[in-house]
Subunit: 454 residues, 2 copies
Amino acid sequence: MGSHRGALKQALREAVRDGRLAPGTRLPPYRALAVDLGLARNTVADAYAELVAEGWLTARQGSGTRVAERIMPTRTTRIPEKAPRRPADPAHNLAQGQPDASSFPRTAWLASARRALTAAPNEAFGPGDPQGRVELREALAGYLARVRGVRTSPDQIVVCSGVAHALRLLFGEHVLRGPLAVEAYGLPFHRGLLEAAGVRTTPLGIDRDGTRVEDLASAAPRPRAVLLTPAHQFPTGGPLLPSRRTAAVDWARAHGGLVIEDDYDGEFRYDREPVGAVQGLDPEHVVYLGSVSKSLSPAVRLGWMVLPERLVDPVLAAKGLREGWTGVPDQLTLADLIESGSYDKHIRRTRHRYRERRNRLVAGLAEQAPHLEVTGIAAGLHAVLRLPPGTEAATVEAANREGIALDGLAAFRHPAASTPHTDGLVIGYAAPPDHAYTAALEALLRVLPPPSEP
Amino acid sequence: MGSHRGALKQALREAVRDGRLAPGTRLPPYRALAVDLGLARNTVADAYAELVAEGWLTARQGSGTRVAERIMPTRTTRIPEKAPRRPADPAHNLAQGQPDASSFPRTAWLASARRALTAAPNEAFGPGDPQGRVELREALAGYLARVRGVRTSPDQIVVCSGVAHALRLLFGEHVLRGPLAVEAYGLPFHRGLLEAAGVRTTPLGIDRDGTRVEDLASAAPRPRAVLLTPAHQFPTGGPLLPSRRTAAVDWARAHGGLVIEDDYDGEFRYDREPVGAVQGLDPEHVVYLGSVSKSLSPAVRLGWMVLPERLVDPVLAAKGLREGWTGVPDQLTLADLIESGSYDKHIRRTRHRYRERRNRLVAGLAEQAPHLEVTGIAAGLHAVLRLPPGTEAATVEAANREGIALDGLAAFRHPAASTPHTDGLVIGYAAPPDHAYTAALEALLRVLPPPSEP
């Protein structure tokens, strides 16, 4: 990184932190700022992208780059005399992507830790193998085959700290290169870290059959890979239809491309047959990514990459000679959790709980906001509530004022997406503990826009 | 990173992996390679630096950049038909920097895990605070004050995955900038990652009173910070004398500089009073770094930074809005291990064991190689055996042929160091399990150079 970029990032962060740049403030276009500061355009563009990746800024089509709203827990402004530094907890947490922290299976986790650490060979406590413990890779190979239809061997799995780490290993170290096709809606954190690694991302449209993978062949610049969430498009919520799953793999085969499958919530399906992983269609043309962030807890930093044979060595080379990130006790514990059946049991229990919550959300909306359509409810930890055109920003603002943490769909939109934006809320129903869910739901129903006048 | 650099790194790694570039092979000077390949000099220099950081290459003064000897465990060459991928274990492991993996306190760790995870509030299993769990920061503040004389509050501690992660946060994200003064001998892994982050490092000479910090004021380019191992210079082994500890802090005060104190093995002292941390002299001018890699195991990825007040927010900003690396179960477990006294007990037990081993090493050398001087033995997990001039490379080679994993002093020398090189072996005596230590010692004694003819 150039030091100008570092200095600019630092200055912008400080301005956000101490309130000189208020949430929602629009930043000057990077070209204009580059001229003002006498910096290269790329320097400013990269600084913006990295700050988006870190959550300080958001980038939305048509509204430019802005200071992020403080929906996600952020650090409070510094107060002299060493105020305790704690994230401000929202009154009602309907943020997407978070499982219920109170559901973490402490007893099962501890039982697995005891069995695994007692049985482990001494070398487990030496310098770690960057590929990950073989016990975990074997457990994952079996589990992913059984539950997600993934076809692999432990040799083709590399353990990492989560999907973001996986993307950093793939693109930050030039194992893969862009341009990368992505979905028109997706996680800004991922897009930002890809862009910070110099990867140009091109959005693919999304229709009711899922992401328009048939546009891959004609996309410009020609993508070398495509990042997809086939089981449950994030965040709009539909599965990728079988014909498009096949089309994605066909494109990869025909063009020497690669499908990167982010299976972020693949275990949580409610109303229909599980949708298997695209990876099972062609293991040599798909990189499959997963983690325990949704299934167990984001506090356990464990994820995995299932790689085509030819990518295993490059990814390991990128990771370095020794494991620097993922702790062995957690790896061994998760391996036992899976092999003992406790992981499946936990998934079944939480799936049941989240389905109940989803049903309550859908019922509440049907009763009190029947004019609004709710979609993406067959799977996952969140639903999408479609809003009348032009009402999203005001609704998100009203929700925030009520102490509800949630995001509008616009927060996930690729700045270069060409399909028209649909207003909507992304409602995470998994995060609150059971006792707080009713109040969160009631608060949400209070802030929704009323039916429009006839 | 530019894609040329990535491609060059990839090509070099592949050539090392498949044996086209044999261990010890000298690479062309980066300027020459840049001309040959039509690349910018910086591109090649950066690729070299990053491959040194990853352990593929070594850079030594006077012998250029070479393919690393396979002393450290490396992956075996790929064999078709999915050969198992395992690091080749040396017959005798006398590599520096590794504690005895068989000494990991499994029972105490599990007891702490049970207490900590049972007592933890639910929010512990939600998205993590990048500063680290307050339970761990409180335990560390008390422990480091008591054992190392560190003066801090939990507010000024940031948890990370180890010292390498700490250096990446400080320099890779431009919280601090170079030029950085370093010790003439040090860990090539750290130097490589600093250089990959664009930090120019300048070596300070080392004499029998430790690192020559009095040269800081006249060093060119003028350093903004200095990275030191004051308790036990790595790897040469002496402590930094009190007058020089004061001089380092005085330099920082006078020049707006910063001392970065890598306290990698501060707990392991044998024959003399503990040397407290330099941080205690001036907490606002010293960044103190530590980890459990030596005290517990490199398989537990936990480290800490104790920061001057003004650096806390920048480091947290660099880390991002959510903890992506360090698992909460391990953090809570370590906090309990410290608070319950189990950590102290473990340190006492392993210190006793390592002292015995050091005594046996010194006695064996006194008996069978009385012509060679052994230094740096008052502390730590390794000793330095001085060798007759010109014999180091051949002795390391002979040791490797005997299946002994160890390094010569030259492997740690800064390429730009100006003080004359002293030949020597860095002998890690902590790594082998007890039952293997005698054989390792005997193998070592067999390969040492005989007394020169009178």
